[in-house]
């Protein structure tokens, strides 16, 4: 006997909303990536809770894939951030206006 199913989903929703706010509100590109990580973490918690509720192991399999996708996403994202920093000297997306004629 652990806790009601809804409480774990509320926890996941709270973490997801915090990641969403972090993703939208910050000016720093690294903080944006951190927001995406937090949102993926919330999705993983929801999957694990569903896996325990329906006694199906597919939820845990999906969490494994979420881990792999998060690893790939953050490494490519950070490489892009570093590349743009070398090119423009800033990690503020407002300064990425070199296409302006």
């Amino acid at each position: 006997m652990i806790v009601p199913f809804g409480h774990i989903f509320i926890l996941a929703g709270l973490i997801f909303a915090m990641g969403l706010i972090c993703l939208v509100a910050h000016r720093n590109l690294i903080m944006t990536l951190i927001g995406v990580e937090v949102m993926m973490n919330a999705a993983a918690i929801a999957f694990i809770a569903s896996s325990l509720r329906w006694k199906l192991m597919e939820g845990q399999v999906f969490v494994l894939f979420i881990l792999a996708v998060a690893a790939a996403e953050v490494s490519v994202g950070l490489a892009l951030v570093v590349s743009m920093y070398r090119r423009t000297g800033s990690i503020d997306p407002d300064h990425y206006d070199i296409l302006k004629g």
Binding site: I8, M18, N28, V63, L67, V81
Partner: protein, 190 residues
């Protein structure tokens, strides 16, 4: 309230507080350090909800590899970028986040199954591995191809970065891509 419920609420409070501290920091280094605490709490939560193998993976991949990768990249900037504030639209963003949360909470509590008390069960790592490679071996292969593609993309981006720095030198800058390749291999392992 059982002992398991007490542990769950303590872990939930730990995760929520450390995530809240993380997303309000201006310095990414501080945010990453708070986020490591949040991910360790998540790993303990996975263990409580019967996924010991995934708890170990979260500690290794999230709290270990990804966070250390972000810290390394922050240290890669020669002069640290000045502190960047919030966007001027952070108020509407927070408002939209709260609306999303309200709708999600209403949906969860409207669901008649949300009051079900979860019974503890553990997926043993041996059973989990057998299940995974019995039914989802193709998905595992696709994910490994995804990691390979990410590896190639990161090496390509790193080489272009190095070539811009050492335009006069003809030799490819091996040292700059080597670090990235190592960390990528470590992530691809689990």
């Amino acid at each position: 309230m059982t002992l398991f419920a007490l542990i769950f609420y303590l872990l939930a409070a730990l995760i929520l507080i450390s995530t809240l501290l993380a997303i309000t920091r201006r310095q990414p280094v501080h945010a990453v350090l708070y986020l490591i605490i949040a991910f360790l709490g998540t790993a303990a939560l996975f263990f409580l909800l019967g996924a010991p193998l995934l708890a170990a993976f979260v500690v290794i991949v999230y709290a270990g590899a990804i966070m250390v990768l972000i810290l390394f990249v922050i240290m890669l900037f020669q002069r640290f970028p000045r502190e960047l504030g919030l966007l001027p639209q952070w108020g509407p963003a927070t408002f939209l986040g709260i609306i999303f949360l309200a709708v999600a909470a209403a949906m969860v509590f409207k669901d008649p199954g949300s009051g079900i008390i979860l019974q503890g069960a553990v997926a043993k790592p041996r059973d989990f591995g057998l299940f995974l490679f019995d039914r989802y071996w193709l998905a595992i292969e696709i994910v490994s191809i995804l990691l390979l593609v990410a590896l190639v993309a990161v090496i390509r981006l790193g080489k272009k970065m190095g070539a811009a720095d050492h335009e006069a030198e003809s030799s490819p800058p091996i040292c700059q891509t080597g670090v990235r390749r190592d960390s990528q291999n470590r992530e691809a392992h689990p």
